[in-house]
């Protein structure tokens, strides 16, 4: 089991690292997708089937297309890979965004007490017993995830939905700036 975890981790990190170092943006994007596959494999390893398949469906199926289309639509040629940032303000905001995301994720990971993830019936072992606590893997069925999403995390779900809708409408407004002459003729 540990060997599989090491393999998955090496695959995920290696593809991400190579993606950063390549100058061919399409290759980078495809390697990034391979890295997302690695993350999905990690979820599978951890026994979270639903999250793993949702990861593949959303990231490999949808987000990958956004990334690839963005690369294709913003570059003129294959040699058009500017490495230096556009302006100082952009560079600073990129760094700030990176630090903020890292901070939020790091704080979330550090604040999670993993012992509490054991089933409700098993109390967390008292610390200092010298024995490493044996915690049975938490089992979450699809039904449990649905219940959680619709009760505890309903607000977050709604906010994300509104955010995505606004983004979609914004994209439509940006894309649909046609003059009246491009009106469709009846076929």
């Amino acid at each position: 089991m540990t060997a599989a975890l090491v393999l998955i981790a090496v695959f995920t990190l290696a593809t991400a690292a190579v993606a950063l170092s390549l100058r061919n943006l399409i290759h980078s994007a495809l390697l990034l997708i391979a890295s997302w596959f690695g993350i999905a494999a990690f979820y599978l390893w951890a026994g979270a089937e639903f999250v793993a398949f949702a990861q593949v469906l959303v990231y490999v199926g949808a987000v990958s297309m956004v990334v690839l289309f963005a690369v294709l639509l913003t570059r003129r040629s294959r040699a058009d890979t500017v490495i230096a940032p556009d302006s100082v303000a952009r560079a600073i905001s990129a760094v700030i965004t990176g630090i903020a995301v890292f901070g939020v994720l790091g704080a979330a990971i550090l604040n999670t007490s993993f012992a509490r993830l054991s089933p409700a019936g098993v109390p967390p072992l008292p610390s200092g017993t010298g024995v490493s606590p044996v915690i049975s893997a938490p089992t979450a069925t699809v039904r449990d995830i649905g219940m959680q999403l619709m009760s505890t995390h309903a607000a977050a779900l709604l906010i994300i939905g509104i955010l995505l809708t606004v983004a979609l409408l914004g994209a439509v407004v940006l894309a649909a700036q046609d003059g009246p002459e491009s009106k469709q003729e009846s076929p």
Partner: protein
């Protein structure tokens, strides 16, 4: 000792129909055959060989099915267009033709011996990887379909999600093929194909959500189990025989046609207009692999449609339950594939704007309404007597009403089509 198992089963064959259908000999035949093969092996190796055997069986059965679906398609298209279709390929070294039944193998040898042309400017690695990735993912989808009562290759808690996650990765292969060819027409065609795949993925996904809602599970075996039973021993409890199920099945099959690039949605590779779209720079066996992946995708989506809506491997009536479940599954699969072929022979190809408009303005709203309809259906589960009629009436209205209204509104000024220059 190893032979006695199947032999005793053979002796019990006449009695099998009296026993429960689940334990009938024919029903258990694949398992018996598998155990007979693996019983020669030491215990620790059996699980591995069991898995390898199911992989080998899936590959050979669906490989052969692919070969003969292509032949059936060419023959049936030929018949519909009033010509014989391929009928001259003999069995090698003989003069036996058998209606050209050796044709798929001749096609295979032909594509293997063809020159594999790769453009000089192409991205060689991605150009090679695109058909491999496409085929690999389309074969992966076969893993979760229940082919029979005891025949589920992999039982997953989230099987339906797995199926569509593996299917979603095919978009990536289309992009890789278009981009790696280094041909601007290939790339443009790949973008068109992606626009189509993304547009129709939404109705495809929305069409199966009601099934999950009513069956209460994402596992393919449980969805099939939810469709067991018959009304008056003749009307099976399949999802397609409910109003929301019929609508969902129709939306699912239309979206499946588009997802597998079949006519009338085959404009990504419209041979007569676009050469072959994103496949322009492919030749020889790589082209054949794309072709194979398209048919595998079609077969897998049909299998999923059977699982979700047509009762999976269930027999339509208890009187015919003596026919084993996998035969029923294959029969339903062949019927759906023949439907695909028939549609290809009958309908003209859509235009790009008609294609996307149809998905976003018609199928997506109908699928969303259908989701609400299924929610109503599962909430009114306990209604009985006259309320049962009311339940059916409301559900049918929710399907038919939006269909008629939306269709009228969208086709206003466009349909019915007038052929000014045709006689």
């Amino acid at each position: 000792m190893t032979l006695s198992g199947p032999l005793t089963f053979l002796l019990q064959l006449p009695l099998a129909s009296a026993a429960g259908a689940a334990d009938a000999f024919l029903e258990r035949l694949p398992l018996v055959a598998r155990d007979w093969v693996t019983s020669w092996l030491p215990e620790p190796w059996r699980w591995l060989v069991n898995s390898l055997l199911s992989i080998a069986v899936i590959l050979s059965v669906f490989g052969l099915l692919f070969a003969y679906v292509t032949l059936a398609e060419r023959k049936i298209l030929g018949r519909i267009q009033n010509r014989p279709g391929p009928n001259r390929t003999p069995i090698p070294f003989t003069k036996l033709r058998f209606f050209g039944l050796a044709q798929p193998f001749a096609d295979g040898v032909k594509s293997l011996t063809k020159e594999d042309v790769v453009p000089r400017g192409a991205d060689h690695l991605l150009h090679f990887l695109a058909p491999v990735v496409l085929l690999a993912f389309s074969i992966l989808t076969f893993a979760v379909i229940p082919y029979g009562r005891h025949l589920v290759p992999v039982e997953l808690n989230a099987g339906v999600l797995y199926f569509f996650a593996a299917g979603a990765a095919t978009e990536l292969a289309v992009f890789m093929a278009g981009w790696a060819s280094r041909n601007k027409y290939s790339l443009l065609a790949a973008m068109r194909a992606l626009a189509q795949l993304i547009s129709y993925e939404l109705p495809l996904l929305l069409a199966w959500v009601p099934v999950v809602l009513v069956a209460g599970s994402l596992s393919t075996t449980e969805i099939v189990a939810a469709q067991a039973g018959w009304q008056f021993n003749v009307i099976p409890h399949w999802h397609v025989f409910t109003p929301w199920g019929a609508a969902g099945f129709a939306i699912f099959m239309i979206a499946a046609l588009a997802e597998s690039n079949r006519s009338p949605f085959d404009l990504p590779e419209a041979e007569s207009e676009l050469i072959a779209g994103h496949l322009t720079e492919y030749s020889g066996f790589k082209y054949a692999l794309f072709f194979m992946a398209e048919y595998f995708g079609m077969i897998a989506l049909s299998g999923m449609a059977i699982t979700l809506f047509l009762g999976g491997w269930h027999a339509p009536s208890p009187y015919v339950e003596f026919i084993p479940s996998y035969v029923w599954f294959m029969g339903k699969l062949s019927a759906l594939l023949l439907g695909f072929i028939w549609i290809r022979a009958t309908f003209p190809r859509l235009r790009m704007d008609q294609l996307t408009r149809f998905a976003w303005k018609f199928l997506v709203p109908l699928a969303l309404i259908n989701l609400g309809n299924a929610a109503f259906w599962s909430l009114s589960f306990h209604w009985s007597g006259p309320f049962q009629i009311l339940r059916w009436l409301i559900s049918v209205l929710v399907v038919v009403g939006p269909f008629v209204l939306l269709g009228r509104k969208l086709s206003a000024g466009v349909a019915p089509r007038v052929y000014r220059y045709a006689v």
